[in-house]
Amino acid sequence: MRVSVQSNDFDIGKELEFLNNSGRNNGAIVSFQGVVRNNSTNSLLHMDIEQYPGMTQNAISNYVETAMERWSLNDALVIHRHGKLFPGDRIMMVATAAMHRHDAFQSAEFLMDYLKSRAPFWKKEVTKDGYHWVEPIVDDEKALERW
């Protein structure tokens, strides 16, 4: 498993290649890529992602370990960026490798649900009129209930 919290971009193709070549008998690799969306009025200049540096890496690693215990996974990867990001930029990715697709899909969804609401990141949206902190989404909190 690998967890990286970084400001620079990543190459999802290389990451998936690396995951697939990690030597296990993978049959299914699922990836999720989060991208900075524009806001409803198309006025987003950029986003600032703040993190809690001491906690982020450990918190994410704990959720990845939970996923590896709960599903039959060969490997898992989480990359999450912080700092200034523009519309269309990649924010983060999750990838899971398993023998069977059900394990790969379920664990990727589990990790996404936890990253959304339990990893210490906070998104700020900046427009020409100022900025605001992104509000948590009620459905994201509810999504945790199914796990």
């Binding site: 809690y52 001491g54 339990r118 210490p120 990141f121 906070w122 902190w133 509000e135 948590p136 909190e141």
Partner: protein, 82 residues
């Protein structure tokens, strides 16, 4: 002395990203009440605890968690990662 950290709009309302705090409280909620009585900026930041989360030693916990063993406490709004 406990290191207390603030993130996102909590940090903005309090005006610092962290500070060292001397406390006689035994729980997090006690510490919050102490801070509230210090200055209006704390009162504003901690006005509604239902919009806040807290971590002790970098792990999420509840506001009634005991402070014994705590070396680092962080207050922040609900996370919006992913």
């Amino acid at each position: 002395m406990i290191k207390v950290l603030y993130f996102a709009w909590v940090r903005e309302r309090i005006g610092v990203s962290y500070e060292m705090v001397e406390t006689k409280s035994e729980t997090i909620i006690g510490l919050v009440d102490e801070l509230r009585q210090r200055e209006p900026r704390y009162e504003i930041a901690f006005a509604d605890l239902s919009t806040l989360k807290v971590a002790v030693n970098q792990e999420l916990c509840d506001f009634d968690t005991k402070l014994s063993g705590a070396s680092e406490i962080a207050f922040f709004p609900p996370m919006t990662g992913g």
